[in-house]
Amino acid sequence: MKTSVSTVTLLSADDLYLFNEGSHFRLYEKLGAHPLSVGGTAGTYFAVWAPNAEQVSVIGDFNGWDKKAHPLFPRESSGIWEGFLPGVGPGAVYKYHIVSRYQGYRVDKADPLGFYHETPPRTASVVWDLDYSWGDQEWMASRGARHTLSAPMAIYEVHLGSWRRVPEAGNRPLTYREMASWLPEYVQRLGFTHVEFLPVMEHPFYGSWGYQTTGYFAPTSRYGTPQDFMYLVDTLHQHGIGVILDWVPSHFPNDEHGLGFFDGTHLYEHADPRKGIHPDWNSFIFNYGRNEVCSFLISSALFWLDKYHVDGLRVDAVASMLYLDYSRREGRVDPQRLRRPREPRGHRLPAPL
């Protein structure tokens, strides 16, 4: 087995600058796992942000989860660790093993930028490419006019796991592809203009309905592959139906393989528990003051619009992001930045027109 190579990179100096400045909005083209070929050798390039790590390595089914086999290399002072693993390709199951600079903390993490993850309760990521041949050119060319404020918009809100089930097969939910053969015709017959899915981003706990996200760049693998979900979006578009995704940038769950305490420090979440832990959901709250976290979240939003042809995002729990005393009892807020809560939820980013 060949070890990792340090000389391959997808990151330019500009990428690093924009990332650290918080204005890199296409991190999914650079970080995560990217199958590619270098000098005739097929492999996968990995890159992950872990500025407080002492060591980072890729572990997976291809190296027997050996923490020593495939180390990654720090890229200057960016906080990013990268490396090329020859022979690793799509389908490989992997995690990052992170050794913190602090207190000997070690942890195995799913890829924050992973395009595909194992089906819960399994927690590793899967190397995947996002190639897909779209058939919705007509929709994409005409959707601008459909999304003006003067156009009709009637949204059918759907939870994929419970719209329709298969009683003959243990009452299992439909797959993305099965959904594609039922949902578009039904929605078209009823005349709705858009479908809005409760969060499809990978989430460990089914009962959260998707509102406890761990995979901000992957549709849940419970119902199929990324291409299967693309097929569902594609089919809806070809029936003249727009697609909106519920998206949760307000907080994330504290599962060990998730974003929390990523490199032995509070990296994605705010270090002050008054700002970093959500009292209603006991989940972590993103540190919006950190440039790299902003790059991460905005990249996630644009990822769904870019790679999945999604028409809009419904942003969950916006008030909890705007108001520091949201659901906090008196004395449990930072008084320096107190504002009053008002409307609790429900907004949407504009679709890319």
Binding site: H147, L149, S150, A151, P152, M153, A154, I155, Y156, E157, V158, H159, G161, S162, W163, R164, R165, P167, N171, R189, L190, G191, F192, T193, E196, L198, Y206, G207, W209, G312, V315, V318, E343, P344, R345, G346, H347, R348, L349, P350, A351
Partner: protein, 265 residues
């Protein structure tokens, strides 16, 4: 504001859920109709702020979980009245300015609260009242999309004017939706009581034929079949500050949409 571009000081969102509309409307409609006259402002208040943001009117999953029951279950009265109230709720949503959102199952009057471990109760569609609600939603969507008056000014005060928001005693609301051209006009009349009203006069701005485009009390949807036989000719009797008026039959717990047609076909 939330739904304004950042360059004018907004947060840059395209649309915002109108949670106030949802709370007020569900609260109002969950009351026994006999008490609705005391809460008339709940159903009229929205127009004080309806254009302050670009709104979506949400009947989302949040309203059918955590012991809140189903939309149908929230409605008061016997089974017939619950279905009539639900058709009225949905019709009122489509009549109001703003984009629409409905959680799955609401379109055929799911009885149970949403359960993420089970399928929707599709077998209910074998029962005519449930199939009737589904047909109602289908017809509302097609009306909303085909009538410019019902969507062009969803987020613009030019698209709405009251005819009468003061008839609290009889719990009747009447208003006009307007498109870009003066003849794109839809009159909406809602009767929030189970008492049919005969010879109920409503003022309109234009003389001519007003076609009854949809009526939630039609037999087709499971209603009692009260209505106006397809349309009404406006008479030059000024009413509600308008130069013409229509003499209407208002079906019980129902909403009717009249489309301005001009000369009688």
């Amino acid at each position: 504001m939330v739904s304004r571009p950042t360059y004018v000081g907004g947060l840059g969102f395209g649309l915002k859920w109108d949670m106030g509309w949802m709370h007020d409307t569900l609260d109002y409609l969950s009351k026994d109709p006999i008490y609705r006259k005391y809460h008339h402002n709940q159903i009229t208040f929205r127009l004080m702020y309806a254009f302050s943001e670009n709104f979506v009117l949400p009947l989302s999953h949040d309203e059918v979980v955590h012991g809140k029951g189903s939309l149908l279950g929230k409605m008061p009265g016997d089974a017939w009245q619950k279905f009539a109230n639900l058709r009225l709720l949905l019709g009122y949503q489509y009549a109001q300015p703003g984009k629409k959102l409905l959680f799955m199952g609401g379109e055929f009057a799911q009885w149970r609260e949403w359960n993420h471990d089970e399928s929707l109760d599709w077998h209910l569609l074998e029962a005519p009242p449930h199939a009737g609600v589904q047909r109602w939603v289908e017809d509302l969507n097609h009306l909303y999309r085909s009538e410019a008056a019902l969507h062009t000014y969803d987020c613009d005060p030019r698209g709405f004017s009251w005819v009468d928001c003061t008839d609290a005693d009889r719990s009747v609301l009447s208003f006009l939706r307007q498109g870009a051209s003066p003849e794109e006009l839809i009159l909406v009349v809602c009767n929030f009581t189970p008492v049919p009203r005969f010879n109920y006069r409503v003022g309109v701005p234009l003389g001519g034929w007003w076609q009854e485009r949809l009526n939630s009390d039609a037999n087709l949807y499971g209603g009692s079949g009260h209505g106006n036989f397809g349309g009404v000719e406006a008479t030059p009797i000024p009413f509600h500050g308008r130069p013409y008026s229509l003499n209407l039959t208002l079906p019980p717990l129902a909403v009717i949409f009249f489309r301005y047609q001009g000369a009688q076909p």
